[in-house]
Symmetry: C2
Subunit: 351 residues, 2 copies
């Protein structure tokens, strides 16, 4: 090892779900929306005046933050936009978790939280979920350096009641509490209304799932003006222009079509509810997912085996070889046709 | 101040040049290219299949890193791509400067370097340029935690000879040396060939200036496989997908049109050389810029006064109220027509 390598920040990177390059796969492994983005997105991209690309984009992302503020009944100063919710969350960890005390999050949750904590050398303590993958609120009532909760949780799909979330926020007003609502649009309940009550609450959402724009990279945070300003200061100390001109336009176009958004969500939710029935019939057990995925274990066949059999048939789902969840598969909700092919395969494979 | 605010990372953000919202301005303040990006960029955007946006983009940005590797005769593993060179540089600071010793860069240089150092609590020491805004190589021959040099330098436009750059790298093989070549395409000389010789050299470039794609946000770093891998590990610990699908396609399209690129550069360089003559005639003094801007002081009229007069006439240039450079204006090279309007104004104002 060369001397310069001694001072490199060594990290264990997050491993995202596979993005297979083949085209003829059924891709139920990264919780993408099975339907295309709103038609207005295509229109705005195809009609984009590319000459403006020679200029820097709006550093304040005004058009998109304004549209989001309007959508949620907030002021523009209560909204922060980033390159997907991962960008927003990473910057939030850097901005808010500097007390030296451990940040708290569940042992089973979005597996980027511990990666960000490690990246920034932020101490953390994982709090075990109960047997039903529910959080135990008393775990979050001790001294800490901040709290991060995905709600609904990933990869479990379990939703914590807002009353419990509020109890946790109320008991932790000396630290920043982040609620990651990446999946909330699929039937969940958002804690955005609590922003007015708690200036230490940051709610993070994304265009990647419910708005079918994973490929465009748009995430956002909502919180008190004060909280958002601190986040903006760090962002402007990192990169003045994170959101490119096309992305801003696409985000605005997506928000403009509420009818398409609602229709798309209804389709995904309907397919998910049908999938629950099919998977139960096939011998799977799972919680009551309020997301666009189902986290399921089979009563008799190990998850690893099913995962490999599916993969050999070009059906991609997600599986983690991790404590407590090694026997689960996270199955994203695809189109009805894709799900039927999944059920048909499982029917044959399991029986 | 609330308790949670005590543990917020407090920073003094970088202030970018103004992006005025009015349309009828002459914008010579942020070193944007006055000409549009390659025609292929528009084509690829207008024909983009927006349905793919529902899926995550390629996390490895393979198409663009491959195209860049080919362009520079490197392996794909020697190239890293980010959201503008600011994103690349910010991640490089975080990745490589962890020794606790001060990082060295000139006192007059890209003013984001000290902002990144402050953001990540990296100690640094500014080394004074000489009277002609040239670096003194002996300043970089003492113990340090890393070196960052913009070459050509910004905002001065001064180019350091490659032999001097190499002497500095050779004397600093125990730390990472970053050479920021944001402006190198406008007549400068790149130190990319030194990558094969020094595995601690990171060269950073951008599509924002010479490729007229500031609005698209594409920057890149080139270095040894080892160096790039460390940078990738940090990037994958921050955000799996920083480059969106459209941006990747636009970047590839830009690289594909070498003829347009060369023609565009020749135009900007020709206008710059003409501008040097005009500005000299108008009583300005300046170094021999090898960039798409000229950093000039007037012999008799204070920069602040000229700056304000220009601004009142909707001609935007850049001015910093900072020690040593408060009497300079940084004037980006626009189209010939824009420059003629600038000269006409100055002619009238100064005489």
């Amino acid at each position: 090892m060369k001397n310069w390598e001694n001072h490199v920040r060594k990290v264990v990177p997050y491993v995202a779900g596979e993005q297979p390059k083949e085209q003829d796969v059924i891709k139920l492994n990264t919780n993408e929306n099975p339907y295309p983005p709103a038609p207005g997105v295509e229109k705005v991209i195809q009609n984009f005046d590319c000459e403006v690309l020679r200029k820097y984009p709006d550093p304040d992302v005004s058009a998109l933050t304004s549209a989001l503020a309007k959508q949620y009944g907030l002021d523009r100063g209560q909204v922060f936009v980033g390159v997907g919710s991962d960008d927003v969350l990473a910057m939030s960890f850097l901005t808010f978790f500097n007390s030296g005390k451990p940040v708290l999050f569940p042992d089973i949750t979005y597996s980027f939280y511990d990666v960000w904590a490690d990246l920034y050398r932020i101490p953390y303590e994982c709090q075990p979920l109960d047997e039903d993958f529910c959080i135990k609120k008393e775990d979050y009532m001790k001294p800490n350096g901040g709290i991060v909760l995905a709600n609904p949780n990933a990869p479990t799909g379990v939703m914590t009641e807002l009353a419990v979330i509020e109890e946790i926020i109320a008991a932790n007003q000396d630290v920043v509490v982040i609620v990651d609502e990446a999946y909330v649009d699929f039937d969940g309940r958002s804690c955005v209304p609590l922003i007015e009550k708690y200036d230490n609450l940051l709610v993070v959402q994304t265009f990647s799932k419910s708005r079918a724009l994973a490929g465009m990279r748009i995430g956002y945070a909502m919180g008190s003006q004060k909280l958002i300003q601190y986040l903006k200061d760090v962002k402007f100390s990192f990169n003045s222009y994170t959101m490119n001109a096309l992305t801003i336009a696409a985000g605005v176009a997506s928000l403009a079509d509420e009818a398409y958004f609602r229709q798309n969500l209804a389709k995904v939710v309907a397919t998910r509810e049908r999938a629950k029935k099919e998977l139960a019939r096939l011998g799977f057990v799972f919680g009551d997912s309020k997301t666009n995925f189902i986290f399921a274990a089979h009563k008799t066949v190990p998850a690893q085996e099913i995962f490999e059999a599916l993969r050999a048939s070009k059906i991609y789902v997600r599986h983690w070889n991790k404590p407590r969840i090694a026997n689960y598969l996270r199955i994203s909700v695809g189109t009805d046709e894709e799900m039927d092919r999944l059920f048909a395969f499982l029917e044959q494979y399991l029986t």
